[in-house]
């Protein structure tokens, strides 16, 4: 099966579910990259380019939503979650308006554009906002179902999407998506890897490497960052005794932070957090960057083995 970027899956999902006339899509001069142009081809009358003005776009989205629209506002994650953060906070989250901020080009795998465009703080920032639902799907079917859930959810949603084509993790025929419920995608008894976004794919491969070395790792796809699935985490902590979080995001405040907050208050357990270690990205191919920053399967497996030794 070919690789599909979650941004492409997003564009297709918008077009697929776009018949609902309440749906309005805004973009900030990046519709070919965010893939909202896929929606635009089908429903040009409900797609509005707001130009290179992300803050205005988020507040306009709030105004549209106040009249009963379901508004999707897209740009790169760095400009959505960070440049327009305060607009998302005050105009969208505070009045709990029905705006879906679908941010593409998250993480290091933006690639050659480099650090200025590689958003590695968005989960931390968006997760800190009251009323915000934060989704981070890993593959095509999960993205499609996350977008469907975002449409059905009454209130603000942040969806983290990637630029890079990724393999399917879930079977499109049978996969069930439930907001706030992590998905166990590999059984295991020695430890549990909790991953999100394209780190799910890398973590599954890392778990295979660990299997070869006699370490049986469970893998959980945590597609909802907020609210985090405390139940699946506590169960994993009780049954495997060691949790590893893996995210294409800075080590502060993202998936690892959410998991630690949940576990420390409910079932304290040793956690190893794997992510970008308090530094900015740089230009390079996605594969070269994942290797350089220690986020490919081999590096993840190596870090887990070292942490397990130290434990």
């Amino acid at each position: 099966m070919g690789k599909v970027a979650t941004r492409e899956a997003y564009g297709k999902a918008l077009a697929e579910f776009g018949a609902d006339e309440r749906i309005i899509v805004l973009d900030a001069d990046l519709s070919k990259s965010t893939k909202t142009d896929t929606f635009k081809k089908v429903y040009p009358e409900r797609h509005f380019n707001m130009g290179i003005a992300e803050g205005n776009m988020m507040s306009v989205a709030a105004g549209l939503a106040s009249t009963g629209k379901i508004v999707f506002a897209s740009t790169f994650a760095i400009f959505a979650a960070e440049r327009a953060c305060e607009q998302i906070r005050n105009a969208i989250c505070y009045p709990k308006l029905n705006v879906k901020v679908c941010a593409t080009h998250a993480g290091l795998t933006v690639g050659e554009d480099g650090a200025s465009h590689q958003c590695i703080e968005d989960l931390a920032v968006m997760r800190a906002l009251p009323n915000m639902l934060v989704l981070s799907p890993c593959d095509e079917i999960e993205t499609k179902l996350a977008i469907k859930a975002a449409i059905e959810h009454d209130g603000p949603v942040y969806v983290r999407l990637g630029r890079l084509g990724v393999e399917a993790v879930h079977d499109p025929e049978t996969f069930k998506f439930e907001v706030g419920k992590g998905v166990e995608i590999k059984e295991g008894t020695d430890l549990t890897i909790v991953a999100t976004g394209l780190m799910v794919q890398e973590s599954l491969k890392a778990a295979e490497i660990l299997d070869e070395k006699g370490v049986n790792a469970r893998v959980i796809d945590m597609h909802t960052i907020k609210p985090i699935d405390t139940e699946i985490l506590v169960k994993a902590a009780k049954e495997t005794g060691f949790i590893v979080t893996v995210e294409e995001h800075n080590i502060s405040g993202g998936l690892g932070g959410a998991v630690c907050e949940a576990l420390s208050q409910n079932y304290p357990c040793k956690v190893k957090m794997i992510g970008v270690e308090e530094k900015f990205g740089k230009s390079g191919t996605p594969a070269a960057l994942l290797e350089k920053y220690g986020l490919n399967a081999e590096a993840i497996a190596e870090k887990i083995l070292a942490a397990k030794e130290a434990k």
Partner: protein
């Protein structure tokens, strides 16, 4: 506008100004200067123009209003209360912990408030969104918004201005409360946004300049805006900060300061005297 209508509007405006003083005095904080400055714009909108229903504040076909300069909530709340959206006595709970009358407007708590605002520069963008929705849905409601002259120092205002003109939102009419003062002093000293009318015209808006305390001029501008096709209208309102209270007029120290008991009493007595004068003129008119 006939004389009696003018006098009735002046009476409403004076009542709203009295409530502004009472709100800020009872809260011991808030923004009297700018609230008094934009009172006549509010009065004209809510008592001579806007299609709103106090019994059905969320009517989908209503005209919308966004207070982009959200700190002037005392003027908005006083107007909504006098209009009948909620009891006037609730105004005395302004900014109190159990009150729904939050320091800056909140659309989820306050009947008649169409958008939560307070962070300057954002309200006008949300008004653009509402006007765009009106175009998409082919509805005939109109969208109104008041901006501060200091507020237009925010870059987002100009992003919104571009978008409003780009999408030809002739159902949007905004007002700049041009009183020349902001918290830190004269707008021309702090960060000069002038020439205001020329700037909005350059951004593709229909611009009308009026005396911001003359209800007839404001009303005429609103009527003209309705006839202009293909562009939004900006009404540049020349106003006096602190209008109606002698010691607050043209003094930026009253931007965000509450009066003490003595100052409150003096302000109310000045406004009562004005009210008596208007009542006398109404009696003579009849």
């Amino acid at each position: 506008m006939d004389k009696r209508t003018k006098l009735d509007l002046q009476k409403k405006a004076t009542q709203i100004r009295k409530y502004i003083i009472e709100e800020v005095f009872s809260a011991k904080s808030g923004h009297p200067g700018g609230s008094l400055s934009c009172t006549d714009i509010f009065t004209t909108l809510y008592f001579a123009e806007m299609r709103v229903d106090t019994k059905n504040p969320k009517d989908p076909n209503r005209d919308r209003f966004v207070l982009s300069k959200g700190h002037c909530a005392p003027a908005l709340y006083a107007t909504l209360a006098v209009k009948g959206f909620f009891p006037e006595e609730d105004l005395y709970t302004f900014r109190k912990v159990d009150s729904y009358l939050e320091g800056h407007p909140n659309m989820t708590y306050v009947p008649g408030v169409d958008m939560s605002t307070g962070s300057l520069g954002q309200g006008i963008s949300t008004a653009v969104g509402m006007a765009l929705a009106g175009k998409i849905d082919k509805k005939d409601y109109r969208v109104y918004s008041i901006l501060g002259d200091g507020e237009i120092e925010e870059g987002q205002v100009w992003e919104a201005a571009m978008a409003g003109a780009h999408y030809k939102l002739d159902n949007l009419t905004a007002f700049v409360d041009y009183n020349g003062l902001q918290i830190d002093g004269n707008i021309t000293d702090v960060m000069n946004p002038e020439p205001i009318a020329d700037k909005f015209a350059a951004f593709g808006w229909n611009v009308i300049s009026v005396d911001g305390h003359d209800h007839e001029q404001i009303k005429n501008a609103i009527e003209t805006a309705k006839t202009v096709k293909g562009k939004p209208t900006m009404v540049v309102c020349h106003c006096v900060k602190g209008k109606g209270v002698s010691f607050m007029e043209n003094n930026y120290a009253w931007h965000g300061t509450a009066p003490n008991q003595e100052q409150r009493d003096q302000a109310i007595s000045e406004l009562d005297a004005l009210m008596a004068k208007i009542d006398k003129e109404i009696a003579e008119e009849a």
